[in-house]
Amino acid sequence: MTSYQCWISFYTMIRKDIVRMFRIWAQTFLPSVMTSLLYFLVFGTVLGSRIGDMQGVTYMTFVVPGLVMLAIVTTAYANTSFTFFTSKFFARSIDEILVSPTPPWLFVAGFVGGGVVRGVITGILVFVVAFLFTGLSIPITSLFIILGFAILTALFFSLAGFVNGMYAKSIDGINIVPTFVLTPLVYLGGVFYSVHNLPEWWQAMTYANPLFYIINGFRYGFLGMSDVSPIVSVVVLFSLTIILVGMNVFFVRRGLGLRQ
């Protein structure tokens, strides 16, 4: 396929997914916004006032980047794993793309792109809610870092969702990973606390959690401070993303879970 034809194919896949997610917006965007609203209400307004400041800012302001990231991570992952899984098992509509000349890397890009779009849009919506809750006073150190981390994180978790969708053999298979792996990693990655408040052994464990680097890098974009250097965060996130891109393209090329 020429590069123009590749673009058309990519655009078709992305457009189809975006039309779907806006058609059912109450299922795709609203749940994350509602959950975040409750987090802001409980942790920010009710409990936050008793916790006091953290790293020189109000607790509410401190948790905002983590909660925005939580929304991006979960929706990007869920979008790709779910759409891939359903198109593979539900009516087998994935064959529409598999029989076409769309190359494997583009096939991955098309599915993953939808997850990135949904993750970033959800993140923006949650940020708007946070902005209102904090009385329009969230500091922004670098919009470039914020957007860069948001897009790269959505990409990383969308790619991870793709792997899950590829391996899942039942609907339970796409729910197990978010419930037992993703959620604990996010919660223990420093959304609600600074790693410096933890005992040493727990700190050491936290450094092995990729979400720790992602949340802190993102937080740096807002507050200008984090538990770890933003450069380290970028290197970790970028490296993991490259690994997942390679894995996914390899799996699709081999037809893993797609071709008998």
């Binding site: 058309i8 078709t12 896949m13 529409e96 598999l98 029989v99 000349p101």
Partner: protein, 257 residues
């Protein structure tokens, strides 16, 4: 390079599934360009596996497959661009509209929406779905879903169309109109590989035929050559006699005890 005179060239094709099932054994098949070619065989004979390999949905164990001279391993994108597939099972998202299903399919072949949209409308109208193109696809009848799949398979103007039992569950009138439509396309140069259990249809439509049984081609040739295998004198034990092709088919695929 001279283009192959064959729409499809299959040489020494083997397929063994991970379960150990040997689905295809040393299959070689040459489908000339133009017209209908019937690939017949009982259930589980290997027809759908062969179609899966040609279209890239199933991995072959060994052998080679080329579509209009384009090898499916080394020149996969070009080979796929030549092929249109109408599969055995309904495999589109039922929540999408027919027009979107067909236009999106064009997109996967790199055809822009500005070109695909009028082409899709014409195809759907030609196939009698003009007034259904904006409805949700789950509301379509079985026959309409089949016709939608044909429109989807033709949207990128393939030179080689594979129809895997396209008329199962379709009423007589609709089947006839579908064949009439497809026949006009073969006149314009389209090659159609057809699998069907309606042997009378195959006998009327196809100029060449291959019969596959237990993963191996048992006979292939022109329709007249295959029909010439019919033994008028042979009387079946149950006394029932079908069409000539049906009798040859039964003779070649039924196990003798």
């Amino acid at each position: 390079m001279n283009e192959s005179v064959y729409a499809l060239e299959i040489k020494n094709l083997f397929k063994t599934y991970s379960s150990g099932t040997q689905a295809l054994t040393d299959v070689s098949l040459f489908v000339p360009a133009g017209g209908f070619y019937a690939l017949l065989g009982p259930n589980g004979a290997g027809k759908t596996t062969m179609i899966g390999i040609i279209t890239g949905l199933v991995r072959k164990t060994s052998g080679s497959v080329a579509v209009f001279g384009c090898d499916i391993d080394t020149d996969a994108e070009k080979a796929k661009a030549h092929i249109g597939l109408v599969g055995q099972e309904v495999n589109f998202n039922p929540f999408e509209k027919p027009i979107d299903i067909v236009v999106n399919q064009a997109g996967y072949y790199g055809i822009p929406r500005s070109v695909a949209l009028p082409r899709a409308k014409k195809l759907l109208q030609d196939l009698g779905l003009g007034d259904k193109m904006e409805e949700r696809s789950f509301a379509l009848s079985g026959g309409m879903k089949r016709r939608l799949m044909i429109a989807r398979g033709l949207i990128h103007e393939p030179r080689f169309l594979i129809l895997d039992e396209p008329t199962s569950g379709v009423d007589v009138e609709l089947r006839r109109s579908m064949w009439e439509y497809l026949r006009t396309l073969t006149v314009k140069g389209l090659t159609i590989l057809l699998t069907t259990h309606y042997l009378d249809e195959a006998e009327q439509l196809a100029s060449r035929v291959a019969i596959i049984n237990k993963g191996a081609i048992v006979v292939d040739g022109t329709m007249s050559e295959i029909l010439a295998l019919h033994d008028e004198s042979e009387q079946r034990a149950d006394g029932f006699r079908g069409g000539k092709l049906e009798e040859v088919f039964i003779q070649l695929t039924t196990e003798t005890v």
